[in-house]
């Protein structure tokens, strides 16, 4: 299986706090990779370092064998990556459709002529992009909301829109940061199906989650972090049986 992302000795320290310490991990093509660990284990920091938002204190990140350590976020994103955020980050004042169109930023190249000398939204590139975004919104059941201001959407739809926006850039890898936070069990079940469907379309998905039902239900492989270190890696069954994981979550059994 091709390794899309590979990290070597990846470490990130904040002052004296070692948020990540010598993490070696890979993201393989077309898998669903779960990343779990207690609060403060360094999961989000891992995402942030892999995507260039933080500079690692030590170590390297490779995309398809090419080193991207120290690159700006937008140039890393250009390598075929998209993400969602733990606390939803939508463009609150823009319409649902425009949110998704921003997601397509790197795909649309209208040129100055089309921008200045065609009626707004009537350029060929723009129409194609719009059609693509609408079909994406349809897939997420948001087509009726296309003209609404995204800040006014209910919570569940915001979560979906964030995923739709991420997919609009047609990434190779989709990073989901706690997608089920604040969802009720029904919504979570729906989300699981959605993630599975996305993966079946050929996208590689990486999920950070606290919800064990979700992570155990959909992941092909799981990486467990604790105190910034990778403490386990394997398929869901192996992880569930792993003593160090149980300890990290439930606390040590007193003898």
């Amino acid at each position: 299986m091709t390794e899309l992302v590979k990290t070597e000795d990846l470490s990130k320290h904040f002052g004296g706090v070692k948020a990540l310490e010598a993490v070696e991990m890979t993201i393989r093509e077309s898998e669903i990779l779960g990343v779990i660990g207690p609060n403060g284990a360094g999961k989000s920091t891992l995402f942030n370092v892999i995507t260039g938002f933080y500079q690692p204190t030590r170590g390297k990140v490779f995309y398809n064998g090419v080193e991207v350590t120290g690159h700006r976020v937008d140039s890393v994103v250009d390598k075929g990556l998209a993400r969602t955020f733990q606390n939803i980050r939508l463009f609150d004042q823009m319409t649902v459709l425009n949110n998704v169109l921003v997601g397509m930023h790197l795909q649309i190249h209208p040129g100055i002529m089309e921008t200045l000398f065609r009626d707004p939204g009537k350029g060929q590139k723009e129409i194609e992009a719009r059609d693509k975004c609408m079909s994406l919104l349809k897939y997420f059941g948001l087509e009726k909301d296309a003209t609404l201001v995204s800040g006014n959407l209910p919570y569940g739809k915001k979560r979906k829109l964030e995923i739709a926006r991420a997919l609009a850039s047609d990434p190779k890898i989709l990073l989901l940061d706690e997608p089920s936070a604040g969802m009720n069990p029904n919504e979570t079940a729906e989300l699981m199906q959605l993630i599975d469907g996305i993966n079946r379309k050929g996208y590689t998905v990486v999920v950070i989650e606290h919800n064990m039902k979700l992570i155990m239900g959909i992941s092909h492989r799981i990486v467990v972090l604790n105190f910034g270190k990778k403490i386990a890696e394997g398929d869901p069954a192996a992880i569930q049986a792993d003593a160090s994981v149980i300890e990290a979550y439930l606390g040590k059994e007193e003898d």
Partner: protein, 290 residues
């Protein structure tokens, strides 16, 4: 000659330091780009002028001016800033611009744009060492500025309210959980900021023997900003250091380059400074969380 410029720069810098301290106390607590700082304290200075011309004893007049600065900032905070305290950055900044214009034009309406003599009857003599002239006034200014700085530092460090202010500047919710009355404490900070501004402003007037509308914005707010850019926005230590460096820089520029372009050159230096050191000399460490 260099030494003379250093001394002049130091005295004007210490005045800027008082103004910048008042500004940065407020900034440190709410991160508000307080456009109105200078214009608010200018009201206090003009009130002092008004009392002086009515024949009130200078000490009383100055005291009254300081109280006016304190009270006005207190009310402005309550009426204008508190409602927009959590409305992001643009909204409160524009509110502050509005306040600045209200205050400035109130002064213009009452006193007009003229320059007035500001005579409190203290005329210092000059001490001469070799070729260098040190006005006793300069020494007084330095003393007053330094004692204000020490006073504020002690207030913040040693009193309960002072510690509450420091706590609020780190985290409003955490301070609230300790029992710090957030709204009242923030009001006090604004008041102190205004009062410090008036002290600085009046020293300025005494130093130059005159008062005009420009002591608010052009010589106050802008200098406080400049000092903050150099020292690092929101840091008291940075403000003082930045203000003194600003004073020295200005004194050097007008001594060796050009008085005419003093402001422009200083601004250009600052823009260059921002380019090289965008967070100032004493940056506050903030890690963005996503």
């Amino acid at each position: 000659m260099l030494l003379q410029h250093l001394i002049n720069g130091l005295s004007i810098g210490s005045i800027y330091a008082l103004i910048a301290m008042g500004y940065n106390m407020v900034y440190g607590i709410l991160e508000l780009l307080n456009f109105a700082h200078g214009d608010v304290y200018a009201v206090g200075c003009f009130a002092a002028l008004g009392l002086l011309t009515m024949g009130v004893h200078p000490a009383l007049a100055i005291m009254a001016g300081i109280i006016v600065g304190f009270v006005i900032n207190l009310f402005v905070e309550k009426l204008a800033y508190r409602p927009v305290r959590y409305s992001g950055r643009v909204t409160p900044t524009i509110t502050a611009v509005g306040i600045a214009y209200i205050m400035r034009n109130a002064i213009l309406k009452i006193w007009g744009p003229e320059t007035f003599a500001f005579d409190i009857g203290v005329r210092g003599s000059n001490l001469q060492f070799g070729g260098i002239i040190i006005g006793t006034l300069q020494i007084y200014i330095l003393l007053i500025a330094v004692s204000c700085m020490i006073g504020i530092t002690l207030y913040l460090k040693k009193t309960k309210t002072g510690q509450g202010i420091i706590a609020i500047s780190q985290s409003i919710p955490t301070a609230a959980l300790m029992g710090v009355p957030v709204n009242r404490t923030i009001s006090i900070v604004y008041g102190i900021g205004g009062a410090l501004g008036v002290i600085g402003g009046i020293l300025f007037c005494i130093y130059y023997d005159s008062i005009f509308i420009g002591i608010g914005f052009a010589l106050g707010t802008i200098k406080a900003w400049m000092a903050s850019i150099i020292g690092g926005v929101g840091s008291l230590k940075g403000a003082v250091m930045g203000a003194i460096m600003l004073g020295l820089m200005e004194s050097m520029v007008s001594g060796y380059v050009s008085t005419l372009y003093k402001d422009a050159i200083v601004w250009l230096l600052l823009i260059a400074f921002v380019l090289i050191k965008p967070q100032g000399l004493f940056p506050a460490q903030v890690a963005e969380k996503i």
